[in-house]
Amino acid sequence: MKLTKEQKEMLDGKKGAALAKVMQTLVRYGEIFGADKMVPVTGKKGHLVTSFGLGVLKPVYALLDELINEGALSGQPFTADPRPLDDNVPVNPLQKLLFKAMYSKQSDYEAQLEKLGLVRENAFTCTCYMKEVGNTPKKGEVLSWAESSAVVYANSVLGARTNRNSGIIELFGSIAGFVPNFGLLTDKGRKALWVVKIKTTKIPEAQLLGSAIGMKVIDEVPFIEGLDRWLGKKLNDRAKDYLKDMGAASASNGSVGLYHVENLTPEAVESGRKLIAPKAKEYIIDDNELEYIKNTYPCIWKNADAKPKLAFIGCPHLSLAQLKDWTERIEGRGGRVKTRTVMTASAGVIAAFEKTEYAARLKKTGAILSYICPLMFMNNPLCGKMPVITNSNKLRTYTTSRYFTDEEILDIITRGDF
């Protein structure tokens, strides 16, 4: 890999031992993937995946201390994934005790993040790119991000460029100010190796469609045809919310870091079918395929007929429009939730929602609004034992929660049972 004089000096330790190790990691990381050079991080803010102060992550805290003590801080402010705890979400005393033990380093870890460059307000959410949060990269900007759902959104819907980085590596890119040039940072790496043809008779459930695509293409780039028939040709808020949920499912059920939607996402609008690589494979998705995919999900509850104790809606975090929509949908079904229901959104979106007349209406339905990370909540084994339902395919993949479509979830939470 070709390095500039400044980069070589960093690597040689002329700017400190910690920065030399950061550089060594980034260079070897790039070499593995055939990077020719480093490219500057041009996005204004970073985004970190690790937001939880698990007591067991001592080696991570030691590494961060090494950086902080040597002044190897992020050159750009960054946001981070949602917090693992929120008092708004009710827990029993045993669950609370375990949470306290599990996330015993939360405040210490957040203090480290602040020293490294965490933004001061609205720092914690997986939907950092929403306007109420303010970490919205522009098309073509190079980022050093992690968090699979944010990475796939930034690449696909915003047209920014970031690889699907691991936790810690993303911080290293923000510290160094450059990242190795490979994969999704390059035009070649953004070519579609799959053409996915949507042939459903109605708008596909976003979370199911993403799951199907992710399971098929794994980590390759798909070019999606026929979705504009259902979403239109304008990248409006409704389309963006749909793509947020679809992308998160594709990134967690597979490892998709970028997709193109014909006539809709920025690069597909700009370059059209030129984005498709020669000999791209084909995947046709119809109603039967989606039904088949849904039926492959295992139910890992001890008792498959158990009455759901909790429903999580909002993984990734909900948008303002989605919060309003869920309020109206519950109102249309009697106006009360009979299953404990937690809707999750970023603090920024919650603040904007609280300013609307919908806030009182949602409160009246009995649903709880929280900035929590449902995944971190479910990681508590005592919470994981509960029969929890969700409309999130990501949450289903990583936890014991059971997936249902939006309509099914609405049905269950307003009836209180299946």
């Binding site: 067991v56 991570v60 936790g167 810690i168 993303e170 980590d219």
Partner: protein, 146 residues
């Protein structure tokens, strides 16, 4: 006995017993419980991975196609390594993915752990190797399976 040649991601030599995950290895899901609850053997907690669920990861010659799942993956692998609960080696049949690469490098550069990592061993490797077989890894990236 069969020999496979791959690319060296993290250098080292080791002998260990194979633990084979035919499907993608979900790093977070696999290490979550053992890291959280102090299990030094690093028993795999990924219920979706029938090949290795409940089996100790620490000290195994972990044979896999690639890793999958959360982008915390590299950080989790680094933590496991720094705590001495890492596999004896990681042997990838496919080119390594970005999350596993991060974990391998963080472990190599930022901890004292020794964990040779070899990738691109080919689909034949994963077809041939079975859990329980003895595996030897050389510094040149040669993997010798019993």
């Amino acid at each position: 006995m069969k020999k496979f040649k791959g690319r060296v991601i993290a250098k080292g030599s080791v002998k260990a017993t194979a633990l084979v995950s035919k499907n993608g290895f979900n790093t977070l899901a696999s290490y979550q419980k053992s890291l959280m609850f102090g299990d030094e053997k690093g028993k795999c907690s990924d219920q979706n991975n029938g090949d290795i669920y409940g089996k100790p990861l620490a000290g195994s010659a972990l044979c896999l196609p690639q890793t999958i799942g959360s982008t915390t993956g590299g950080m989790v692998l680094f933590t496991a390594a720094a705590m001495g609960r890492q596999p004896a080696c990681m042997l990838f049949s496919k080119p390594i993915d970005s999350l596993a690469a991060a974990g391998a490098l963080l472990a190599d550069i930022w901890s004292d752990a020794k964990m040779p990592v070899i990738d691109s061993l080919g689909d034949n490797f994963l077809e041939y190797v079975k859990s329980g077989m003895s595996v030897e890894v050389t510094e040149e990236g040669v993997v010798i399976v019993e």
